[in-house]
């Protein structure tokens, strides 16, 4: 069955390629990530960012004399769907992929891209394992959980002066991973993790867990999960009379979180990239995004935008669509993006991850 399937895939890919050559030549770039389901909103953000970047390149005449065609696929945030999407993209003849969003999707999908020899840049998958498997053409435009969990734990211990924290996660590769990193750093700093527990990612009633948190004597809560649960969790903590700090990773950085917790939310601390909303370089981007999609750009939009831009610049520099050449080009220099200078190391991680602590002030995210 398996060889047959491979032959089929190759035949299909070859067919797709031949089909392309008949028409005007285009360069296909895959945009993959979650667009429906619980993470649908936050996952659509980077895809739209990438889309905008591709549109801008096309307006300037494309890359290597070819128009760029975005092939967008929804992996529904599910690992099995991510593999199917990856195979579809390979079969469609994409030369590179910007995606996926969830770490749990990027991990299995990258195996497919690795086998097919396709460059992949994820704008958001922060699980360390994504770049730890020696895949030469896997890159990420974001930091790693061991970096942001670390930043969070140090902040809690050094700045908030708390010594006892409860870590609650959503049982996903991302949530549990980041929770474990937090625990490791926090305990290394002689702090105590009083409770380490996970909840299904569709659970919305946290009251029993909150009682357990209160029992454990925690002074603060670290949430390893997404905004859709983070908001209700925060609200229910406050309703139960828990007054300590609420810390979380980039997964809760979404405007929807503020809608849920309200403008008055206090002691809520999030690790995310630096503030680009107020930087001069980002202004044209923010305006263009608003014009195209009729909504404000959210945190992850810019990751998608920078990832696509960096990829296309590297293709331009490599003067080739060959995966090895592109990967080589990506590692060869520092790339100017809206988030600052990005430089990749041998693994494909950013050399300098720039997580900072954010909080909610006057109804908007603000750097603390």
């Amino acid at each position: 069955m398996k060889p047959f399937r491979q032959i089929l895939t190759v035949a299909f890919a070859a067919g797709a390629l031949l089909g392309c050559q008949k028409k005007e030549e285009t360069l296909k770039i895959g945009l993959a990530g979650v667009q429906t389901g619980p993470d649908g909103e936050i996952g659509t953000a980077p895809i739209r960012g990438s889309q905008l970047a591709i549109d801008e390149w096309n307006a300037k005449g494309g890359v290597l004399g070819m128009k760029i065609e975005a092939v967008t696929r929804d992996d529904e945030g599910k690992a099995n769907q991510a593999v199917a999407v990856a195979q579809e993209l390979v079969a469609a003849g994409v030369k590179a992929v910007v995606g996926h969003f969830n770490s749990g999707c990027s991990l299995p999908a990258s195996e497919v891209y690795h086998q097919a020899g396709i460059v992949q840049i994820t704008p958001a998958s922060t699980n360390p394992q994504v770049t730890e498997r020696g895949f030469k053409q896997t890159f990420r435009m974001c930091g790693r959980d061991d970096q942001q969990g670390d930043v969070s734990a140090k902040f809690a211990f050094d700045s908030l002066k708390v010594t006892q924290v409860a870590v609650i996660h959503n049982k996903t590769a991302y949530g549990q991973g980041i929770g474990e990193v937090f625990r490791k750093t926090f305990e290394a700093k002689t702090g105590k993790v009083t409770l380490f527990d996970g909840l299904a990612s569709e659970e919305m009633d946290f009251r029993a867990t909150i009682s357990a948190i209160q029992k454990s004597g925690a002074q603060a809560v670290y949430w390893g999960g997404m905004y859709n649960q983070g908001g209700p969790f925060y609200n229910q903590l406050r309703q139960a009379g828990f007054k300590g700090a609420f810390l979380g990773g980039d997964g809760i950085y979404d405007n929807e979180l503020i809608k849920t917790v309200g403008a008055k939310a206090d002691s809520l601390f999030i690790t995310f990239g630096p503030d680009f909303f107020h930087s001069e370089v980002a202004k044209p981007f923010l305006a263009a995004f608003k014009k195209k999609f009729n909504q404000e750009a959210s945190g992850y939009t810019i990751y998608g935008y920078d990832a696509a831009n960096t990829l296309l610049q590297a293709i331009q520099k490599a003067q080739s669509t060959d995966a090895d050449r592109i990967s080589e080009a990506l590692r060869s220099q520092s790339w100017k993006g809206l988030m600052g200078d990005a430089e990749f190391d041998q693994k494909g991680d950013l050399k300098k991850a720039n997580f900072v602590i954010w909080t909610i002030r006057a109804g908007a995210f603000a750097v603390r």
């Binding site: 429906t36 649908g40 909103e41 527990d197 299904a200 009633d205 009682s211 229910q236 849920t260």
Partner: protein
């Protein structure tokens, strides 16, 4: 420390019962439909979810009409959601089940699963794929109004008990019995009140009215009931409407309790409520209530004493255990009571 633990245990009871009451309300719909048609309405969780959205839309409409007082808008929204869901429940029966009533057991089951997928995707595509926040102005005053009961000094009772017991016990009861603050929110009280009220109404309807006698008759023997001149189709429609309305009221309370709602909210809730119905003995109305409360309590106790990770395992482990010991559920054999 022990006093705090005791207080939190009481809080767990309150939270678990609130959760269980909601399961029970939804479970009633499963059990009533099973009682009367002998089928599992797997689209019932989606009816619950539609109730959530119905209430939010009703609140939006009332808000734009200038009505703001929670005391007026909330009851109106609950009624609107109940009517909305009942409508969907009736349509659901007409479209997906009525034609299949005489068919093989698997046909309506498959149809129900199909209906569930259709409704879920319908809401996802036509309303939103993201979450919707329940209006804070309505839910927050209720959720934030909490009463703290507490600081009962039970040490005199403890001393009395200890004076009768042999000395060995004193070692085990060394720490003083003091109950520290237990939180109870207005929202939880409202959940208990509405749940009890609606269940009371349902029991009254089924046990004390002519309509209830007719419903029970159809459940016992559909053919015989129709031979006696009862409008069987109408009564089945009524069963769907009642179950859907109860699910909708549960939907409104869950969306206030959790603060957010989403198109897929009915899946897990429906599954748990179905488990509750089976646990209590499917087809049996008091059984559904007991099953719901048991599962709610078991989940929260597990979260508290073991870990939240084990919560779902416990609910289903209890189900397996009960079915093993009592294959027809806790109250399953009282066939005469089923509706």
């Amino acid at each position: 420390m022990r006093a705090l633990l005791f207080a939190l245990m009481l809080e767990i009871l309150v939270n678990g019962l609130a959760r269980g009451a909601i399961y029970a309300l939804i479970a009633l719909g499963y059990t009533m439909v099973y009682g009367i048609l002998g089928m599992i309405n797997f689209a019932h969780g989606e009816i619950f979810m539609l109730g959530m959205f119905g209430a939010v839309y009703a609140l939006g409409a009332l808000g734009s009409a200038g009505l703001m007082a929670v005391g007026i808008t909330l009851p109106l929204a609950i009624v609107a959601a109940m009517v909305f869901s009942a409508g969907f429940g009736i349509l659901n029966e007409r479209i997906a089940y009525r034609k299949l009533r005489g068919a093989h057991l698997l046909a309506p089951l498959t149809s129900a699963i199909g209906m569930s997928i259709v409704l879920q995707n319908f809401v996802m595509l036509s309303v939103t794929k993201g979450k919707v926040d329940f209006p804070r102005a309505i839910a927050a005053p209720l959720a934030d109004t909490t009463w703290t009961f507490g600081s009962w000094d039970l040490s005199s009772i403890q001393a009395t008990i200890l004076s009768v017991l042999p000395d060995v016990w004193a070692r085990w009861m060394a720490s003083k019995w003091v109950v520290q603050s237990v939180h109870l929110s207005a929202l939880q009280l409202l959940i208990f009140a509405i749940t009890l009220g609606l269940m009371g109404l349902l029991f009254w309807l089924i046990q004390r009215t002519r309509l209830g006698i007719a419903l029970r008759a159809v459940a016992q023997d559909r053919t015989m009931a129709s031979l006696c001149g009862m409008k069987v189709d109408g009564l089945i429609t009524l069963t769907f409407a009642l179950g859907s309305a109860l699910a909708a009221s549960a939907g409104v309370m869950v969306s206030m309790y959790q603060g957010v709602l989403r198109f897929d909210a009915g899946y897990m809730m429906g599954l748990k409520a179905f488990t509750a119905a089976v646990l209590g003995g499917i087809g049996n109305i008091p059984g559904a209530v007991i099953g719901g409360l048991l599962i709610g309590l078991a989940e929260d106790l597990t979260s508290f004493t073991i870990a939240s990770e084990w919560k779902q395992s416990t609910a289903f482990a209890i189900l397996i255990l009960v079915l093993w010991l009592r294959p027809r559920g806790l109250l399953g054999e009282r066939v005469a009571d089923k509706v």
